[in-house]
């Protein structure tokens, strides 16, 4: 499958149940998505279904972080498995492309990408595949 890299950086948004944001931050941190911000949020899923299960507006936490686009797919898979995001009312995770950003983390990602690019060039020069 073709790798989708349309932007140099991506913002990753993870919305999970209240109290689980710290776990999401840990996963993000382990996957090169530092500088995570946690905010409180309210989930408003399908009201009829929610009332059937006995709850209306649910308390949520939203985690926002900056991530290398090459790592985003893998990270979303990990988040999906860990928080069981396939199931209803468990939350969701998305990535949004951004054109530019200023932060020390940005420099880290840039250096990482630059290092990978140089590595590929060196391998090509050495005749390695």
């Amino acid at each position: 499958m073709k790798n989708i890299n349309i932007a140099p950086f991506e913002v990753i948004l993870v919305i999970v149940k209240k109290g689980k944001a710290e776990e999401a931050v840990e996963i993000l941190t382990n996957n090169y998505a530092n500088f995570s911000l946690i905010t409180l949020a309210e989930g408003t899923t399908d009201q009829a279904t929610a009332e059937f299960f006995g709850f209306g507006i649910q308390e949520r936490e939203m985690v926002m972080g900056l991530i290398d686009p090459k790592e985003s797919e893998k990270t979303l898979e990990i988040l999906k498995d860990y928080f069981e995001l396939d199931e209803p009312f468990n939350g969701l995770a998305i990535t949004i492309p951004i054109k530019s950003a200023t932060n020390i983390v940005v420099d880290m990602i840039k250096n990482k990408l630059k290092g990978e690019k140089n590595g590929e060039e060196n391998r090509e020069e050495n005749g390695e595949k």
Binding site: A7, E10, L40, A41, F83, D86, L92, I94, T95, P97
Partner: protein, 130 residues
């Protein structure tokens, strides 16, 4: 790199869009109802504080009045985006002066946990090269 990014983003071929609406505190329910009628499954509300309103500098009986805002995040399919944003826009006009706000959308490259597409557990879009 930037030109390439701009060109690809201009295509606007994303599977999902994140609609962000910023409105006065307490009006989030109107947005949720409108987006639901237009086809969205739900939304997430976070709280914020505006800085544009003139009221931000005012105080009443020595108590400062803060222009509190609700921020509604709605993840929708790209095909629904226009209808949902139109519904939000119409709804904002209906709610009166206090309910005025802004709404905009951002492209989403990857998404997991979207209920409508449970069968496709991992939604990954592929850009079509010309």
């Amino acid at each position: 790199m930037e030109k390439k990014t701009e060109k690809k983003m201009e295509k606007n071929n994303f599977d999902f869009e994140l609609i962000i609406s910023i409105i006065g505190r307490g009006h989030a329910d109107y947005i949720i109802d409108a987006t639901r009628e237009a086809g969205a499954t739900g939304g997430t509300i976070i709280h914020g504080r505006g800085t544009v309103d003139k009221i931000s500098d005012s105080s009443f009986m020595g108590i400062s009045i803060q222009p509190e805002k609700d921020i509604v995040l709605t993840l929708v399919k790209s095909t629904l985006k226009k209808n949902v944003m139109k519904a939000i826009s119409e709804n904002l006009n209906l709610t009166g002066k206090e309910g005025h706000g802004i709404t905009f959308s951002l492209p989403v490259t990857h998404a997991v946990g979207v209920r409508e597409l449970k069968k496709d557990n991992f939604i990954k879009r592929q850009l079509k090269d010309d």
